[in-house]
Amino acid sequence: MNLKDWIKTLTFYEILLGMKATLSHLLHYKPITLQYPHEKKTLPSNYRGMLALLRYDDGTEKCVGCDLCEAACPSRVIRVVSAEVPGEPTKRYSKEYYMDMTRCLFCGLCVNACPVDALGMTQEYEWAVYDKRQLQLNKQQLLAIGDRNFPVREKRLEFQHPNVAYFNVGFKEIPQKES
């Protein structure tokens, strides 16, 4: 050790340097804490929160009961019971639709898989419950979540025949033919 190091050790130079740093933080007090229940973080627009089932602007359900979301789900969250629309044998709908949110990992694959954009991800994240069974949602609950989170609904396309399901084939995930 040379003289400079000796002087530094004897005068607690490094410790004083650290104490200066902490004191400067005390004097320029700018907390980064978010007082969570009182103030909340602004979420990014593509935040993947609670799942919801959506409706068209005339109040009819978008879901056509195709089961693609169930197939896409890696955690087997979704269970769809598909059925014909009564009196309209060419049209199907989801008679029952269950989500076991205890298993959901919010990957958004079901939303991507849906051909009619019937599923959406909301910005809700405060879903802590005392009873796990409250996280097993049925169709009515999922539609209610969609209703309260998406007040602006998509228009049912006019050229669409009422008996034909509308598929949004413009999806970027769908493999395209090489031109």
Binding site: I15, G18, M19, A21, T22, L23, H25, L26, Y29, K30, P31, I32, T33, Q35
Partner: protein
């Protein structure tokens, strides 16, 4: 009659000091969390009351109503005695601390010193002795808990306290040589009349080095960061009081903070002139000495307490071998050298 008056006066004095100390402890628990938070860009407690000022009350209530658990296989007698053995020495040391001017009031034929409970002529020795007894509480608490973490914490604490008490004792010797008294009242009186008379700066030999040794050893003796090995959270859960809960835990907690205040008071009295103001002009007229004296004493003590928090916010914990090497190979020679030099200077400039 005289005995009755003396008893009543002393008891009320003890009560006042105890209330003041315990209130300071309550304040410190909040202040520590706030200061630590501010230094780390956090807010500290904010929920209970405006800006979290009622947090000590909530903490106290919680500790009071918590279940009191005695672990299976614990030595019940020792387990219940240890917190008391730890708390009493921490509080009893305040008996010899002069909080204000050295006045003697005549109350009904009884000589009464309003600002010091008892001015015994071995005050420093008394404080050192009781500080050592406090170590028994920690060791016995760790041993009687029947838990490996507690035992290890207690063992570490024993080794650490023995190592650093030595340095505390030796660093004080310089002040004792200069003041030629063991009474804290006499030591305070010898430092009157401006900050150049405080033993930190005083002619013939400033005790600044002794003060550094004293304050470092005191941090170690009160088990505070960076010397908090006895209660190292990341290694030993909570050290010697791992198994304690409720009021018994609160006793250990009070003891730790009481020790902190006691050490700050001793540092103030020995090195920074006790209740004396830095300049004679700031002391005010003779009739107001009690007010300014109490103010300056409190101010200095809180300065030291802030320093405890400041060090805690800055420094990480030492390793065990570093702690031992620092105590025996660095602080002890410095303290001994300080004694030698102080004796020489005190002999040359009596």
């Amino acid at each position: 009659m005289e005995t009755g008056i003396r008893l009543a006066l002393t008891l009320s004095q003890i009560g006042a000091v105890m209330v003041a100390v315990l209130l300071t402890v309550a304040l410190l628990t909040l202040l520590e969390r706030k200061v630590l938070g501010w230094m780390q860009d956090r807010m500290g407690p904010m929920e209970v009351g405006p800006y979290g000022v009622l947090q000590p009350v909530a903490d106290g209530l919680k500790l009071f109503f918590k279940e009191d658990i005695i672990p299976a296989g614990a030595n019940k007698f020792m387990f219940s005695m240890a917190p008391i053995l730890s708390l009493v020495p921490a509080l009893i040391g305040f008996a010899v601390i002069p909080f204000g001017p050295d006045w003697t009031v005549d109350v009904g034929g009884v000589d009464f010193k309003p600002f010091v409970i008892t001015d015994i002529n071995i005050g420093v020795l008394y404080i050192l002795a009781f500080a050592s007894i406090g170590a028994y509480g920690i060791i016995l608490g760790g041993w009687s808990s029947n838990s490996k973490y507690s035992l290890l914490g207690g063992l570490r604490s024993a080794a650490q306290l023995i190592s650093y008490e030595l340095n505390v004792g030796l660093s004080i010797v310089g002040v004792l040589l200069l003041s030629s008294s063991l009474s804290l009242v006499a030591i305070t009186n010898a430092q009157a009349g401006g900050f150049w008379n405080w033993y930190f700066f005083a002619f013939p030999f400033p005790q600044a080095v002794a003060f550094a040794v004293f304050i470092i050893s005191s941090v170690a003796e009160t088990n505070r960061t960076p010397f908090d090995l006895p209660e190292a959270e990341s290694e030993l859960v909570a050290g010697f009081f791992t198994e304690y809960s409720g009021m018994r835990f609160a006793f250990f907690f009070l003891a730790e903070y009481g020790n902190m205040i006691l050490v700050s008071c001793v540092a103030t009295v020995l090195f920074f002139g006790g209740w004396h103001a830095p300049l004679e002009i700031l002391q005010g007229p003779e009739s107001l000495h009690w007010l300014t004296g109490m103010f300056w004493f409190t101010f200095k003590v809180y300065g030291f307490l802030f320093m405890f928090f400041w060090i805690r916010a800055t420094l990480p914990r030492l390793r065990y071998d570093q702690l031992m090497r620092f105590g025996w190979k660095v602080l002890l020679p410095i303290a001994l050298g300080n004694i030698v030099l102080t004796s020489i200077f005190a002999y040359m400039f009596p």
